[in-house]
């Protein structure tokens, strides 16, 4: 298999390409792309500013609605959002909104700070736990309003999934870290290697800060409880290695990826792009039930990755600690389950073995937040309309509250933005 590496798939638009594409935009009024964007960026406005070569104004338009515009330009599933709603989509090609946004954001890089006005100090302090997109968005929006914000991040680097979990083909680490620097430039203090539950507890923050925002994301990949699972690699760690330590990464010759969500597809992309001869994705249901976006499915098929649908791994074969295969059984779909999808069940006597020397699992993420003592729903932290948890003054947003719908960076950014508005309201109303 050809190894194309993990550099960004799309080269940046040249100034001329951006101008031509921007001029194609009709400048719709009350545009559907703006409605479809979870952060409601005024897309026609920023595109027309590209057309008038006002890139500074264009970037500011984006940042006013979405402080993480550079990341979103790269990682948003635009087919499902802005570009999917473009009025030109029906008969023509939708405007390349994502790439134009990247053009505008790249033109200012992390100088974005200089175009965001910051209010004078309010004397209020807010703690944000987790420096992923929701946390950074909330922190930045609060800093704009003059509040002193401290972000506690358990990892070495801030940025959350943008830094650790988005494959380099979509977003390089540097883009994420540039955004972190911009947020810090607004006056936000980021403390890394500070983990909730290990280095501090929620009550510590409640005592020291006027409000707390939890943007703690989700946990590791859950156990499948099959024999030999200790030899299975965690999909998120696999992606993280590909970003921060690609040289030291060991890629199997025949990689089996368990799961069919967007993370699983990212794992398969890493494997195929970094030299695996053969990559097989294993999913117990069918293409119909996959949670990955259709465009991601199309993408990975074009990469030459094979699919084994209606297949359930039951045992990892690893004699002497070396993975040689994955025992699986065939499945069939029965009645619809609680999620509305038809539940798979094993076909008796259908066991077979897939030869593989590396097994990666990407079957969701744990929701390890029981110890916080907050009300939860299906394991996710419950919040009200104002993003406030069951504990007064403690707000939450991002993947850790995403009990419904598909988790995404841009949704996390909007959570952070809306939560910041609610927190601001709370800590300035004098009732606290």
């Amino acid at each position: 298999m050809d190894s194309k590496g993990l550099q960004e798939t799309h080269p940046p638009l040249t100034a001329h390409e951006a101008l031509v594409e921007a001029n194609r935009c009709l400048y719709c009024f009350d545009a559907p792309c703006m409605h479809a964007c979870p952060t409601h960026i005024d897309i026609p406005r920023f595109i027309k500013k590209i057309a008038t070569e006002n890139l500074r104004g264009s970037a500011r338009t984006i940042l006013e609605a979405n402080l993480l515009g550079a990341t979103c330009a790269r990682v948003c599933p635009v087919q499902e959002l802005c570009e999917g709603a473009c009025v030109l989509g029906a008969e023509h090609k939708p405007i390349a909104i994502g790439r134009l946004q990247r053009h505008a954001m790249d033109s200012v890089n992390d100088r974005g700070r200089s175009m965001i006005p910051v209010a004078g100090p309010s004397g209020r302090q807010v703690a944000v736990v987790g420096a992923g997109p929701a946390g950074l968005s909330c922190a930045g929006e609060l800093a704009k309003r003059g509040h002193a914000v401290t972000v506690f991040e358990k990892r070495d680097l801030a940025g959350g999934l943008s830094t650790y979990g988005i494959i380099g083909l979509r977003e390089p680490v540097e883009t994420s870290l540039g955004e972190v620097r911009m947020i810090e430039g607004l006056g936000v203090r980021v403390e890394t290697n500070q983990a909730l539950g290990r280095d501090f507890v929620l009550a510590d923050l409640q005592g020291r800060f006027d409000a707390v925002f939890l943007s703690v994301g989700l946990g590791t990949t859950p156990e499948m409880t099959i024999p030999g699972e200790e030899f299975v690699l965690d999909g998120l760690a696999y992606i993280e290695d590909s970003k921060l330590n690609p040289g030291g990464m060991k890629i199997g010759r025949h990689v089996a990826v368990i799961g069919a969500g967007n993370t699983a597809i990212d794992c398969a992309t890493v494997a195929v792009r970094l030299g695996a001869e053969r990559v097989t994705m294993i999913y117990r249901r069918t293409a119909e039930e996959m949670t990955a976006y259709l465009h991601e499915y199309e993408f990975i098929k074009n990469e030459g990755v094979e699919f084994r649908f209606l297949t359930q791994p039951v045992r990892v074969l690893a004699p002497g600690g070396h993975v040689t295969g994955l025992d699986c059984v065939r499945m069939e779909l029965g009645e619809a389950d609680a999620s509305g999808r038809r539940a798979p069940r094993m076909v008796p006597g259908s066991e077979f073995t897939i030869e593989t020397d590396q097994v990666v699992k990407a079957v969701g993420q744990e929701k390890p937040w029981a110890a916080l003592g907050l009300a939860r729903a299906k394991g996710f932290i419950s919040v009200n309309e104002e993003f406030e948890t069951s504990l007064r003054g403690v707000f939450a947003g991002g993947d850790c509250i995403r009990a419904r719908g598909t988790a995404s960076t841009v949704m996390a950014v909007q959570d952070g933005k809306l939560a910041a508005a609610a927190i601001h309201q709370r800590i300035t109303e004098g009732a606290n």
Partner: protein
């Protein structure tokens, strides 16, 4: 197949498409290649006294990614020696006897200079000559070009010097840089011209450089007005052409008019013919795309004429002139309203914002229940294409309130989505002119106008 053969002031050409006097007809080799490509004629780049040109002589206006919607130039008349031009005109005419070869000329405002040039042009065998009274830059500072065209007295006098001695047709080319095009046209007729042509270029400054604050193009740090041409000037040219067509003196003279100004496609050319041009001249489009464009100019015009049952160019010329009218003769009772074809509508809402902000506030955004909604009214927590698309309201015209201004029709990006539909007002046909004769007070007294409107059910929004 329609017959495109053209006869203009006695000069025959296989089609009505001539190169205008300009850079494309600067030399014999160029005109040879143009004729090989199929051009029906060429008006040679103006010959006359010695000149020197400058660099950065062409500016342009680009818009919305479209290049050269107009060009602007400070190029002078031919900077090649008169003898060379005359020799090449002779050679080209000899090689292409079926094409119209017209020499454009401009000399000092002295009878002997004009008599001399007429004699020398006639010696080449050229079919006719065009007097350049339009060049708006450089030559006009030396008392030629537009300096002549802008003064009806000079225009008539110089034309008469030429026509007193010329044996070949004399076309007077008019400058648009005047208030009323009819005045110099009448002067040319009085001077004995055989034909008219219009328009020459329009005074213009192309742009200012926002980095250097110099004019664009910058000629060693300086810039100035130059002649404006290309697609953007077509409406100006059509109006001047129609003004000549509507003038009784020009009409009675029977002089043919060669039309030009922004002709790029056969459709443009057809419009000039319909408004009374008997041949058309092209420059900017050729400077943009080359001589090859004549193929579709001929092919498209011929196919259109076949479709319309127009057999000859003569059948096309002036066919729309009877439609040219003044405001005072328009039917004030005529009423049309805009109607949006909702099956074609892509809901860009450009009609809505144009009507709401700048016209008559008669387009509503209607949701699926039929209720009018306010723009940007969605929940900030909504996201994704499904809701954005499914909940997108439909723009719809309140036809009772629509004044039929036609702005929405013009801004709509979808072909044939908005139609202007006849909506009879039920009022008796009346023009402003008739109204002023029957009710002169209506032009002076708002109270009288109010009463008139109420009586006739005319509501203004």
């Amino acid at each position: 197949m329609a017959d495109l053969t053209t006869t203009f002031a006695g000069v025959r050409s296989p089609n009505p498409f001539w190169l205008a006097s300009a850079p494309p007809s600067n030399s014999g080799s160029q005109v040879h290649r143009a004729f090989e490509a199929g051009w029906g004629g060429a008006v040679w780049k103006t010959i006359g006294p010695p000149v020197l040109n400058v660099s950065n002589r062409y500016g342009a206006w680009h818009y919305g990614g479209q290049r050269m919607l107009a060009i602007n130039n400070v190029e002078l008349i031919s900077d090649r020696p008169l003898e060379v031009n005359l020799r090449e005109i002779t050679e080209v005419k000899r090689a292409w006897p079926d094409r119209a070869v017209i020499a454009s000329v401009m000399v000092e405002s002295k009878p002997e200079a004009w008599h001399e040039i007429v004699r020398r042009v006639e010696d080449t065998g050229a079919d006719g000559m065009e007097l350049n009274y339009g060049c708006p830059h450089g030559m006009s500072e030396r008392g030629m070009g537009a300096a002549v065209g802008q003064d009806p007295g000079y225009c008539q006098e110089i034309t008469s010097w030429v026509t007193a001695v010329a044996k070949i047709p004399v076309i007077v080319k008019l400058t648009p840089n005047i208030t009323n095009i009819v005045v110099p046209a009448r002067a040319a007729i009085a001077g004995g011209a055989s034909a008219l042509s219009l328009i020459n270029t329009i005074n213009s400054i192309a742009a200012v450089d926002l980095n250097t604050f110099e004019l664009t193009p910058s000629i060693g740090g300086k810039g100035g007005h130059g002649g404006y041409a290309g697609p953007a000037v077509k409406p100006v040219a059509l109006n001047m052409l129609a003004a000549l067509g509507a003038d009784s003196v020009v009409g009675k003279s029977g002089l043919p008019i060669s039309g030009m100004g922004g002709i790029t496609t056969w459709q443009d050319a057809a419009e000039f013919l319909l408004l009374g041009a008997s041949s058309v001249q092209v420059c900017t489009a050729v400077m943009h795309y080359g001589f090859r464009i004549v193929e579709d100019l001929c092919d498209g015009l011929s196919n259109w004429m076949d479709e319309k049952g127009l057999a000859t160019i003569g059948d096309v010329i002036g066919k729309s002139l009877p439609r040219v009218s003044d405001f005072k003769d328009f039917d004030l009772s005529y009423r049309a309203v805009a109607r949006i074809d909702e099956a074609k509508c892509i809901k860009c809402n450009l009609c809505y914002v144009a009507c709401n902000d700048t016209a008559h506030q008669c387009i509503d955004l209607i949701d699926s229940s039929g209720a009018a909604v306010v723009p940007y009214g969605y929940d900030v927590r909504s996201n994704g294409k499904d809701e954005a698309v499914s909940k997108r309201p439909q723009p719809r015209v309140r036809e009772d309130d629509c004044v039929g201004c036609r702005l929405c029709y013009n801004v709509c990006p979808v072909e044939k989505c908005i139609a202007m539909v006849d909506a009879p007002s039920g009022r008796e046909s009346v023009t402003w002119d008739e109204l002023m004769q029957s009710n002169p007070e209506l032009g002076e007294d708002w109270e009288a106008m109010k009463a008139y409107r109420e009586k006739h059910g005319i509501h203004v929004h």
